[in-house]
Structure formats: structure tokens, C-alpha cells
Amino acid sequence: MTVTYLPDQAELPDESPEAMFDLLDSRGLGDGLPVIPPTAARVEAMLQYATGDPDEVLFTLQPRSGVLTRRIAAINAVLAGCPPATFPVVLTALRALASPEMNLRGVNATTHLVAPLILVHGAVAEEAGFTGGVGCFGPGNRANATVGRAVRLTMLHVAGAKPGFGDAATHGQPAKYTFCAAENLAESPWGSFARSRGVTAPSAVTVHCGEGPHNVHDAEAAGDPQLILDKIASAMTSLGMNNAPISQGEFFIILGPEHAASMAQRAMSRDDVSSYLFDRARMPASVFRRHFEELAWARWMHTVPDDHSLPMTGEPGNIRVVVAGGPGKHSLVVPSWGMTRSVTLPVEG
């Protein structure tokens, strides 16, 4: 039997954004920014892009165990200002967040500033208006901005990730408002990232729960991938990130297309980039041990002597390489919260 849930409704004096903003405020809801009122007509328009019973309970979101239906997701997407064509991406990102390996209970409750990075791959990116080009992490593109925001609103309203209650983040961070971009497939020398993870559907979404992006600028290398990658490795090598004590933690390396081209021109594959960074992003074992009482490391790492170096993550495959961004000699490092694994899913409504 299908378990269903029907959302509550409220009466507003008018359809203005101000009235809805006040209603949310009075109930302790919202992300602090203005919203679009989720009238039945607007929610229906969103649901036109989904298939299946809109009121079927798909899963609960932790830590609050709030039920998620397509309609509830659509309500939050309307609030966020999502164009309806982006709605399948919102639903797919929420499915990824509900996956057990994501550890959403920990992701939302932690004092760490972790925010879900949402990457959009394939046909839906173009069809629904996402950008993976210049300025892809914002501001400005409506699909990127509103889809990331719809996911955050669902975390607040359904998962209960309310600061001080279900979200203990000491500071929070800007990426908790929205953190979404498309992959720059047209300029990726290695094809689709989703395909490299075995997801062959025309459209896919990846979610990685980590920090905000750290920029790496390299215009001096004159295309020498070794020099570019050494800089990226240095940005990955830090005691100040959870990857250091947690070896299953992934890094998302968002290569600007110019850096990616420099690597591809020297015949480096996506895996070569990961392997090189695995080899170069290292610190002496003694340094890790001095700074962390608890090391959630792969077993082999515990047996390495103090005077040897250890990598910032347990295996090269934890270093995920994606191409996004526009012209310029910049790439990004997105460290992990740690006790979480990224998920790539085919887009489904």
C-alpha cells in the first residue's frame, strides 16, 4: 500500500511575497530571504515535471524524520523560485541526500559548516537553463541559484536542519543558502563525470557534502599540468579540514576548463589527475598523529611509521575530478565533511 501525506495549508490576506514571507517568519520557517507563495497553481506547475503520485511518501529526511513527497518538494521549489523544468533535479538531489551513504543525520546535525554541493550533468542542464560556464557558482543564474536554495529549504523544513536545533553548525556558511552548478560538459576533455561513475542516463545529479570551494589560481605554469596540480595538491594538504583525520573523505576538484585542457593536452586522464593528487597531497604521519586524538583512517594508514608521509585521503578514487567554470586559470578544491560519501543518480521526477 502506498503511504501518503497531504501538506497543511494556510490562508494569506493576499498573494504578495511579503505576506508569505511574514507567514514563514511567524512560524520560524524559511532561510531568511524572500519567497514566492506556494499556491496550488504554482505547485501544480512544478508537479507537471514529476511522474508518480505527488502525495506518495518517498522517504524521510534526517534528523527530523520529516516525510518527503513530490508535493512537499514542489512547495519548497516554488518558495525558492525554481523554474518548473528544474524540478526533477531538485527531486533527484533530495533522493541522493536520502541515500544511506550520505549520512544526512550527521551532515545536518554536525557543528561543521558542511553544505551539499549539487552538480548537474547532461541534457537537463541545458534544457532547464543551468550553467556550468563562467560564474557557475553564482551569482546570477536562476536555475543554479534556485535549485540549491530549494534543497536548503527542504533541509530546513523537512529534515529539520534548523540552526541550533537540527543543525548545530558553529558558524554555518554562505553555501548553505545555495550551492549548485552544472558540469561544463562541452569543455570537459574527459566526457561526463556521471558517466565516469557508471551513470549512463542522459541526465544525472551528483551531491557531495563538504565545505565551500577553495580557489587555486595558476597562470604561471604555461600549461604544465605538474605545476598546476602541485598547487591544487597544496590547497588539499591541510590539518584544518576533516579529510585529514577521516580517510574515506572525498575531495571534489572542480577544474576550470583551461586547467583541464592543459592536463588533457599532456595525455592525462581523469584518473591520472586523481592519482597525481593522491601522490602529492601528503603530510608526515607524525603530524597527523600529533594533531588528532581520533583518526578514522583505513587500517593500513595506522601501520605507516611516523617518519613516512600519508595522503590526505585513503585512496585515489576519493579525489573526484569534474570540469566546470568559464575562461580563466582557476580551479576549486571542495573538501569533505568526512563521514559521508558522494552520490550520483540519474535524473528522475
Binding site: 501525506y5 501538506p7 497543511d8 495549508q9 494556510a10 490562508e11 494569506l12 490576506p13 493576499d14 498573494e15 505576506a19 508569505m20 514563514l24 512560524r27 520557517l29 507563495p37 506556494p38 499556491t39 496550488a40 505547485v43 511518501v57 524521510t60 534526517q62 534528523p63 527530523r64 524524520s65 520529516g66 516525510v67 513527497t69 508535493r71 512537499i72 512547495i75 519548497n76 518558495l79 549520512n103 543525520r105 550527521g106 551532515v107 546535525a109 554536525t110 557543528t111 561543521h112 529549504l153 523544513h157 523537512v158 529539520g160 541550533g164 536545533f165 537540527g166 543543525d167 548545530a168 553548525a169 583525520p245 577521516i246 586524538e293 581520533e294 583518526l295 578514522a296 568526512g338 563521514m339
Partner: protein, 185 residues
Amino acid sequence: MSTAMTTVYLPDSEPRPEVSKLAPSPGSLAGLRVGVLDNGKPNAGFVLAYAAKQLAAETGAEVTLVTKKGPFGMSANAAIPMARDIFSRLLDETDIVLTGMADCGSCTAYSVSDAIELEKAGKPAVVVTTTRFEPIAVTLSASFGLADVRKLVLPHPVGGTDEPTLQEWIDEATGRVVSLLTTGA
């Protein structure tokens, strides 16, 4: 201007946690076996072991298992559930359990959910938290379907506080631990 009202949907769906109850509270702790489940947070091992020792001295209980939460009792990150083999050992080798420290976000989430697993299996369990994380522990206990999770609230912070001070805090709190275990409140 129109005076018609506009109907809108509300975005916060209802929580549907799996609801559970506390294990029956023993009338007396004399002769009972005390377990310590240490999540590895700074000073957690010290606080829990000392609290268990004081509890045993005061009540005639006996400390029978002190373990971290990873497989084979190895250390593990505090942001994941206790290992299944450790859960089995707690069921076999203890009657009551002290666990923590619930003094961050994800470690509070998993200390609370570990305690609920133990309560469901019939083992009264006290989660040790701090004043600054009590609101999170209260919210998460309700979210996980057992609002009455037994919580011992110590001053904040436990991590970084010297051992004599921690001992003072626990000495003052031992009566509270006894009450939580024997009455649930």
C-alpha cells in the same frame, strides 16, 4: 482591491519517526553491570569511565565493559552509529550503559540514536551531554522517536576542561545518574 484570501501550502511536512519507549528502569542498581560506550570525543573516555566508577561505588553496581564504538572496540568517528559487534557485547555483558560525549552536533545525533537502540533492546542508557548542546539533544531525541532519552547534562565544555574539574562535575552529578537510571527522570 480584492478582499479574497489566498490559500497557500505550508512547506514543513510532519515528522514520522519510528517511535520507541524507554527500557524498564531497575529499582536498584546493586549488582548490575555497567557499560561505557565512548565515542572518542575529547575527554569522553575520562568522563564516562569516572562517572561509571562513581556510579558503581555509590550503588554497588559493577563496571564490566569500557569500549569505544568502532568494530572490535577500536576508535571510530563519533558521527556514525556504534559498530554491530559492540552493540552485541553491550547486550551480552552489561545491564546499563553510559554513553557520550554528546557535545557537538553529529556526535549528539549518534549518541542519542545509540542510546535509543540500547533502550529498545532493554538496556537503560544515559547520554552525557553539556549545557550548550542540551537543546540539540532534546530536539534530536524527539526527532528520533524517544523524547525521554535519559540525558545527563554537564557544564560546557567537557573537551579542554582539566580532569580535577571534570571529576568535581561528575561527583556532583552522580545522584542524577542514579535517578535517570532508576526512574527515567
